[in-house]
Symmetry: C2
Subunit: 260 residues, 2 copies
């Protein structure tokens, strides 16, 4: 039997922190009839709240060093302010959204990232996604909206990278659905030339990825993002796209599609 | 056919803001085998965050005047920090808790409180509780944990009194379950003499309530609390108890039971 389609979309700061862009995205997202899941970050808002509260924000390679105080700020911002803004915004467009952290219904279990050279603090790496309970929500016509917070099942919450959560959820759902994973990006896709916003590389397979990495066309923040994409493909996610927000209403806009 | 039992418990600041009391409550609550729902407030934490952010808190008759800035603080505190602390705490004790605002899965719809003499700002009065979706969660062995935030289905979140949410949920679930509503209180129950912490009035019916109110034994914050209790009883909630946290582990401690 053919599997039903499922869209797993991840949005970041460029959408969440721009009220007009967010409303437009939520309206377009809510029009998608197939089952769907949204994952969001919100690092910039967390950094702003930290500044207002006089709490220091320390980033290493784009990752937040998460002290107990920073964790509270992350939880307030991601699970509170932003998640509920997105959920109530989707409800407005008749999409029955429900916000979740990994602790809610024990849906994403993680463990503290081991200390090698750097102690990231309360940063969790995903151990297990509860696909059965997510499938139950989708069957109830609910659209789960995940923020970048997980837990260890023992009372500890963690800050967890939203790109990774999206990849892990997409992978966990792929035995049940034909999953498309869409990373909503500030640019049109992965660029051949960072100075030319239209130089989108339309297809990247694993071989091409290795070439681009060796030639340093792909560097910095794009490396872990693409790593997440290929991990998802290896775990049987059908399609992975990196594209700007327009992709949600019109799949024909120029964008990057990844394959093994 | 006899209905299954359902416990609806509400906790306030005296439990939530005391780490030892909270852990003890969550452990005892998680031991209850029947389906259960938890509702929590958290006003003191919201006031503290407002003070840190330099945002003015204005209360009239114990109700928060909720500006847009105050609403963000309420959402961050209730739906973020406190709700996720409670949910992850319950998960630790193997209770499959899931945090919800009224916007999540459109579970509590409210409308802005009409302005008569006072404009409370973004304060919502409950219009509708979605009993079907809550029943679905309970059937999945999920324990819903509600914070005091609702929405209007049109993108607007509201601050809503937690006592009222507890009463409305208990009432909405009573066609499906034999519902006990438990208001966890800092005292042992309603007191005959406010100076004597042991002078618990063990039973209050509607007639007795009117007497006590006329004699001003019940006044101030207890009036709306008891009003919520009687409204729940009129809407077929089986039992309503006002008791301190020990009641959750030992129903025999002295407390106040209400009846029509």
């Amino acid at each position: 039997m053919e599997k039903q389609k499922l869209l797993v979309a991840k949005i970041g700061g460029n959408i969440i922190e721009d009220e007009v862009a967010l409303q437009s995205f939520l309206e377009n997202f809510s029009k998608i009839k197939e089952p769907k899941i949204l994952i969001h970050g919100g690092g910039k808002s967390a950094t702003q709240l930290a500044a207002k509260l006089g709490v220091k924000t320390e980033m290493i390679d784009g990752r937040r060093i998460t002290s107990a105080e920073n964790l509270d700020i992350v939880v307030m911002t991601y699970a509170g302010l932003l998640n509920k803004r997105i959920v109530s915004g989707l409800q407005k467009y008749n999409c029955n959204a429900m916000g979740l952290t990994g602790a809610d219904a024990n849906v994403i279990r993680a463990e503290k990232r081991p200390v090698q050279f750097i102690d990231y603090g309360y940063v969790g790496d995903v151990v297990e996604v509860n696909d059965t309970i997510i499938k139950g929500f989708l069957n109830q016509k609910i659209t789960p909206v995940f923020c970048a917070v997980t837990h260890d099942s023992n009372g500890q919450l963690f800050n967890t990278n939203a790109d990774t959560i999206a990849s892990e959820i997409a992978s966990a759902m792929s035995p049940h659905y034909e999953v498309s994973l869409f990373y909503c990006f500030e640019l049109k896709g992965v660029l051949e030339n960072i100075k030319d916003k239209d130089s989108v590389i339309e297809h990247i397979n694993l071989e091409k990825y290795n070439e681009l990495r060796d030639a340093q066309v792909i560097a910095d923040g794009m490396l872990p993002k693409l790593q997440n994409c290929f991990e998802a493909l290896q775990k049987k996610v059908s399609k992975v796209h990196i594209a700007n927000a327009d992709f949600i209403k019109d799949n024909t806009t120029k964008h990057t599609t990844l394959s093994l």
